[in-house]
Symmetry: D2
Subunit: 135 residues, 4 copies
């Protein structure tokens, strides 16, 4: 399953070059993952039960600049599921085109907020991530 | 006319108190105004023609905290239109309720980007702002 | 006492107009107030003891644009102290000049984080705010 | 040469977990690089002459959480210099300790803003980057 989040580029996203600033894309990716956490993982309830997704690694390639008024389509799926971590793959396209604006891999752990420790990704957690892995 | 923008509160909007940080609301209001600038004022074309809306004053009351998972409904209209400036009124509600999260007045000028000067708000500019003033 | 915070304007602070975006100034003001909270109010210890400063109103005038490389000097003092709220006054100058970039009033309450209620501003709280009020 | 930038962690840097949010670190790294661009590369003059550093890739590991009141020390040097791109290495330590909070590699090109094309990294550009490469 590939999940899609749409972002419209507005003036406060841009920097002195008139393009979306490299730092802002990480917020766009956060938005994409929160949409998934709500749809698949019952956030915010899961947060109240004491679990959180914590990012441990991000790798992002900036391929083409995005400008005022561009509509971005962020396509997200799961690339890998390990014992204690998993990795999202994000591709940001200019909507309706094959123009890749940026692509990223974001590795996260699921933390028991009471202990601060990463839990094993098993059972329901893994089943839901599996849904996002098989395309 | 009152225009509505919906924002879902996600983890990166929150601060150490678990509530949307006071600074973040200004980005939510920017989002609401950009939606209006696209719908009523033909942005980004108008930007390319050399005009921009520049904020000169913001006054915001934070009424109730917003938390993870809240859906915010930003209702925006025009409060006043002067010779060279106009004022948006924003009310941010918890969606589907009468609970007011924040309300703000944002005064802006329309700047000719080539000269850096505010223009008189007449003709089409005023006509479009009028649409947003009459409720 | 007037407390001063220095901010250097960098590329990621700017928006499509090449000027510091209106939303970013609120972060600059947060930075100025956190410096004061550390210097006068023993943050972060006070936060761990269960108290926080929560902004209830911000009013800001944007007087002149700030651009890449500008050094901003934020001068902050206390304008008013009420029973349950107090107001900071911030003036942002282009350093070494009398050119006012922005000025703001920010009203806050001191919240007991356990109850979520504003406390009365008395005793040591008031004494410290008094230091920042008398110029 | 290793250049150092100091950042104090304040309340608006934190997210719902009480830790610096993963997106915010990219702004901290931007701050570190802008300090270098001013010190070594005569920004903002170089920007006015029509050149900009544009990030093409960022890879960041989040090693340990940073919390309210932490002082972060960002140590930055140049890792690699290619024909048309170069790579900064950033290490973020809890100041005065060997505790690594995050480390990152950021690859950038120098763009001629008039053409939008990356220039060859030769002459003075390379000489200055060399200073930051040799430790």
């Amino acid at each position: 399953m590939i999940e899609t989040t749409i972002i419209k580029v507005h003036g406060y996203h841009l920097d002195l070059y008139g393009h979306v600033n490299n730092t802002r894309y990480l917020e766009f990716l956060e938005e994409a993952r929160w949409n998934i956490k709500e749809k698949y993982f019952d956030f915010p309830e899961v947060h109240e039960q004491g679990f959180g997704f914590v990012v441990v690694h991000t790798s992002i390639n900036y391929r083409n600049p995005a400008s005022l008024g561009d509509t971005l389509e962020i396509r997200t799926n799961v690339l890998r599921i390990g014992n204690k971590s998993a990795t999202f793959r994000h591709e940001i396209y200019l909507q309706g085109t094959t123009k890749l604006i940026a692509d990223a891999e974001v590795t996260f752990v699921i933390v028991n907020l009471a202990t601060g420790k990463a839990i094993s990704i098993t059972g329901e957690w893994r089943a839901k991530l599996d849904l996002l892995q098989n395309n």
